[in-house]
């Protein structure tokens, strides 16, 4: 059975690229593109791995991470955070809030697939 990955990202082109890559690699991919209700969607879908962008319309990736880590079914889900800002303090903040991994855009396709495998334990 294929692993389920949820991609929370607002940039359509990136959604398309990452979906394409992961589907081809055998993942079951679902996406969500705004921050408002992202936490609820995550809890509802209970993905095996979560890919979370920082700059999202409505609510930032950090807030969403803090939310799901604090309560509910997804407290322990592995999270890969993506950010386009790439500043050290963002990385530190992500680690403090419980992100499993942190990657700065742009990333290489191989790297993201490898990291997701690692996180899902497959």
């Amino acid at each position: 059975m294929s692993k389920h990955v949820l991609l929370v990202e607002d940039e359509p082109n990136i959604i398309e690229a990452v979906s394409f890559l992961l589907s081809r690699d055998g993942w079951s991919v679902s996406t969500h593109s705004n921050g408002h209700d992202a936490a609820d969607v995550i809890r509802a879908k209970q993905p095996d791995v979560l890919v979370l962008d920082v700059m999202l319309p409505g609510r930032s990736g950090f807030d969403i991470l803090e939310d799901i880590r604090s309560e509910g079914v997804c407290r322990d889900v592995p999270v890969l955070m993506l950010t386009a800002r790439g500043q050290t303090k963002d990385r530190e903040r992500a680690e403090r809030l419980g992100a499993t991994r942190f990657m700065t855009k742009p990333f290489s396709n191989a790297e993201i697939i490898e990291t997701l495998h690692e996180l899902s334990g497959s």
Partner: protein
């Protein structure tokens, strides 16, 4: 001839003996009678100089009854102004005033500058007058010599004058500078002057009696003669009378010699009460026979005889040699008494205000007042007397001894009268200030020098004839004797009017505009309110000093340890048991010096005086304390100002620091934003390019699609970079505007089509408004850029079913307004303030922009001297763009 010299010398000898006896009597304490009101009144008679004695008759011959004004002024002062004189005398006594220069300088905070100025004024004003006395004596001597030698021999006037000058200087030095303190008074001199006053009155009366009863045969025939002569028919000019009376009154108060006998030599201010009627009476007697002598002289003597010598020549012509001798002695008395007192007064000023300050500054300030200083002061005074008399002698020679000298009396009067406003103002008006006094005196003195003194030296001597008649540089209104075009006035009155006017005006106005120093303020109060004060002058004397009190005070000032150490050391030195030394003068001196290091000399002196003296601190001490306090206050107010300045600078620094911090935060945010905007498209590009690279088995449609995405993301990056650069240039103000002309409707049309709006696009654009025909002079391309941006935004964000954009344009007062109103949902109120900031986006939709468009628009409109703003309440999204129809050229360089 020899008889004359013999009589003169004998007369001088008598005066010597009188003066010497008076001094002796005063020293022996038997001099009470020397200080009677009558002696005081007689000493005032030095007002009547040889010029009055001889010259009054000449005056009467030339100008009729006008000579009376010379007596009228002083009489009016004595009658009507005795309370002013009393105030002067009281101030002079309480303040130990030594001269008129001292009075005014003391009143204005002991200003040395004022003292020096007044001294120079006094010397300049008095020297001609002394010269006049020399001339009178020399002339009268010559008249006698001619008469005794049958009119053939001419004596050498220069040599005579020199001998007279030397003799006068000698007499003055002998009696005027025997004692140091001017305030100890010159009993001998005053007594000699009183005797001379009697002699000149008796002489003039004797000549008068002889003329009336001996020549004319009684009063009635005399009056007839006067009526018949032209003098009796002389016209009287009111203006001249008033002017001359005022002048002689002013001079009576201000003349240094008058001030000397009236104030400095005064023993008791009650003497003024007697003098107020006795002196006018004396003057009346002096003037009684002036007209008869003048008329008789004109009658008896040949035409062209010098009327100034009638008092002498009338008796001589009648063979009355004895009477003529008495008359000569009268004139001689008038001259000598004036010269003696005037030189004493002047030498006091010169030595006190000029020589001594210089000597003290050269020798380092006489810390130890020894006999040396006393000697120096006396020497300075003696030399000053010699110098002043010699100056007058040279002046006499320079002026040629001509008849011009007679006019010198009035010239001098005008000069010394310049001190009147400052003196009267100083004793009655507390608001008078030093600067005001300096300005008033300076201007008055300058006008007197220019308009009267220099011209009086004779045409061509200092001022050329052309200058006198046409003014300097051809400026007629500056001609010395016709200032401001006032011509035809007597030079004396002309100068008196202008100098007193400007003098008083400058004194009052400048005083009103300046503030007195503390010392001035206190002195002013003492002078003006002199009658409200008890006699304050007392020094402190030691005696009941309490060493313990001194100790307590010293501890407070020096600190306990230092004070105890000092007291112990002094006690040891005195050989006294314990730590308290005896309050000996030496110890008090040491202590005072020590304390003055901490609290200032004056304060230290006053404090020790308070304890050691048991009581009274002199007014000078208090004034000095006040002055020191004022300095400290000034210092602390300076400190206050500095600390205020510091606080303000700190505030400014804090402000700048805050601004820098804010800028730094903004910059961080900006870089972070740019990073995001650049990395996002790059992520897509990298991902898709890797997909394309790694996938061989991809469908051609997918390949084309992915390549398309890469392409559009590249364009997005380029656009972003363009916008960033554009914004950077606009914000740095380095943009150069390209002005051109184009009609507003053309600009709008081209913007609409550049924004990609065609008839088949989904945005419907309509236009209205009256302003579309306006021809703009501005940077049309930049303006168009703004329009395109706003139209594109409408196209992107308008969410209506049938998106419509209304463009309204109108013009008012040279400013054009263009509104862009769509029918969408508009911008939420909380977002309206941020939409013009960089990287701000509205809504959650991605429309391909980085959020720089409106920021750029704002910068452009700023460059075009206009603005862009959100226009609320239009039912949809609405922007208003306003700008001047014609951008001024200047704007280009901003």
């Amino acid at each position: 001839m020899n008889l004359l010299i013999f009589v003169s010398l004998g007369y001088v000898m008598v005066l010597f003996i009188v003066a010497f006896a008076a001094e002796r009597a005063a020293q022996a304490g038997r001099g009470k009678w020397l200080r009677s009101p009558m002696i005081y009144t007689l000493s005032l008679s030095i007002y009547c100089t040889a010029w009055t004695f001889y010259g009054a008759v000449g005056f009467a011959v030339r100008s009729g009854l006008e000579f009376v004004t010379i007596y009228l002024g002083p009489s009016l002062v004595m009658f009507g102004w005795w309370w002013t004189l009393r105030k002067l005398v009281r101030i002079g006594r309480t303040q130990r005033i030594t001269s008129i220069a001292d009075l005014i300088s003391a009143r204005f905070g002991k200003s040395n500058l004022l003292a020096v100025g007044l001294t120079l004024l006094a010397v300049a004003g008095t020297t001609p007058y002394i010269a006049l006395q020399l001339q009178s004596v020399t002339q009268s001597y010559a008249v006698f010599a001619r008469a005794s030698q049958g009119g053939t021999g001419e004596i050498n006037q220069t040599v005579t004058a020199l001998w007279i000058a030397v003799g006068l200087a000698f007499f003055t030095i002998l009696f005027g500078t025997r004692k140091l303190d001017v305030n100890e008074r010159h009993d001998g001199v005053v007594m000699a002057i009183a005797v001379e006053a009697v002699v000149k009155l008796v002489a003039l009366l004797a000549v008068g009696v002889f003329v009336v009863w001996g020549i004319s045969g009684g009063i009635a025939p005399m009056l007839e003669k006067i009526d018949a002569s032209e003098i009796g028919a002389w016209e009287v000019s009111g203006g001249r009378w008033a002017g001359l009376t005022f002048l002689s009154a002013a001079a009576f108060i201000c003349l240094p010699r008058m001030f000397h006998v009236m104030v400095v030599e005064s023993d008791d201010e009650r003497h003024l009460r007697t003098a107020s009627w006795a002196f006018p009476a004396y003057l009346m007697l002096m003037s009684l026979f002036v007209l008869p002598i003048a008329v008789t002289g004109l009658d008896l003597l040949p035409k062209g005889s010098n009327p100034d010598m009638f008092v002498l020549t009338v008796p001589l012509s009648q063979g009355q040699n004895g009477l003529a001798m008495l008359s000569f002695l009268g004139g001689f008395s008038s001259a000598t008494s004036m010269v003696i007192v005037a030189t004493i007064a002047l030498s006091t000023m010169v030595s006190n205000h000029i020589v001594m300050p210089i000597w003290l500054s050269i020798t380092g300030g006489g810390v130890s007042v020894s006999g040396d200083v006393r000697y120096v002061v006396l020497l300075a005074r003696r030399l000053s007397i010699g110098a002043i008399v010699m100056l007058a002698y040279f002046y006499f020679q320079l002026s040629g001894g001509g008849s011009a000298l007679a006019a010198m009396g009035l010239v001098s009067f005008v000069g010394v009268a310049q001190a009147l406003p400052v003196m009267i103002g100083g004793i009655f008006w507390r608001g008078a200030t030093r600067i005001g006094a300096l300005c008033g005196l300076g201007i008055g003195f300058a006008i007197w020098t220019y308009a009267l003194f220099l011209p009086s030296l004779g045409n061509g001597l200092v001022l050329s004839d052309t200058l006198l008649s046409n003014g300097p540089w051809g400026l007629a209104w500056l001609a010395p004797q016709a200032l401001f075009g006032i011509k035809g006035l007597d030079p004396i009155l002309h100068c008196l009017f202008w100098s007193m006017l400007f003098n008083s005006a400058a004194f009052v106005l400048v005083s009103l505009c300046t503030f007195p120093a503390p010392m001035e303020r206190l002195q002013g109060a003492q002078f003006v309110n002199v009658f409200q004060q008890a006699q304050p002058r007392r020094g402190w004397s030691r005696g009941a000093a309490q060493s313990e009190d001194l100790m307590i005070m010293s501890q407070r000032i020096l600190g306990a340890r230092d004070a105890q150490a000092l007291f112990e050391k002094e006690a040891r030195r005195q050989g006294v048991q314990g730590i308290l030394p005896d309050p000996s003068p030496e110890f008090l001196d040491v202590l005072e010096r020590k304390l003055s290091g901490s609290v200032g000399a004056a304060t230290a002196h006053a404090m020790i005086g308070q304890i050691a003296g048991g009581a009274s601190v002199s007014v000078d001490d208090l004034l000095a304390v006040a002055d020191e306090t004022a300095q400290i206050m000034e210092y602390s107010s300076k400190l206050e100002a500095q600390s205020f300045e510091l606080t303000r600078t700190a505030e400014q620094l804090r402000h700048v620091n805050e601004k820098l911090t804010q800028l730094s935060v903004q910059k961080d945010g900006f870089i972070s934003q740019i990073s995001h905007e650049l990395r996002t498209p790059m992520t897509s590009i990298r991902a898709f390019s890797e997909i394309l690279r790694d996938s061989d088995d991809m469908a051609a449609t997918d390949k084309a699609r992915y390549a398309g995405i890469i392409h559009s993301e590249t364009l997005r990056l380029t656009r972003l970079l363009d916008d960033l650069l554009d914004l950077a240039v606009l914000e740095a103000g380095r943009v150069s505007l390209n002005l051109s002309q184009k009609s507003l409707s053309e600009v709008i049309e081209s913007a609409v089509s550049s924004a990609g709006i065609t008839s088949d696009t989904d945005l419907v654009v309509t236009q209205k408004g009256s302003g579309r025909d306006i021809v703009l002079t501005t940077d049309v391309d930049r303006l168009s850029q703004v329009f395109i941006n706003v139209i594109s935004n409408a196209r992107k964000y308008c969410t209506a079913d049938i998106p419509t954009l209304l463009i309204k344009a109108f013009e008012e007062n040279g400013r054009v307004t263009v509104d862009f109103i769509d029918n969408g949902s508009g911008i939420a109120a909380d977002m309206r303030s941020v939409i013009f900031e960089k990287f701000s986006r509205v809504g959650e939709t991605q429309a391909g922009g980085a959020g720089l468009g409106l920021a750029i628009c704002r910068e452009i409109m700023h460059r075009l001297d206009g603005e862009i703003s959100y226009l609320p309440g239009q039912g949809g999204g609405a922007f208003r763009v306003r700008f001047p129809a014609e951008l001024e050229k200047i704007q280009q360089d901003v």
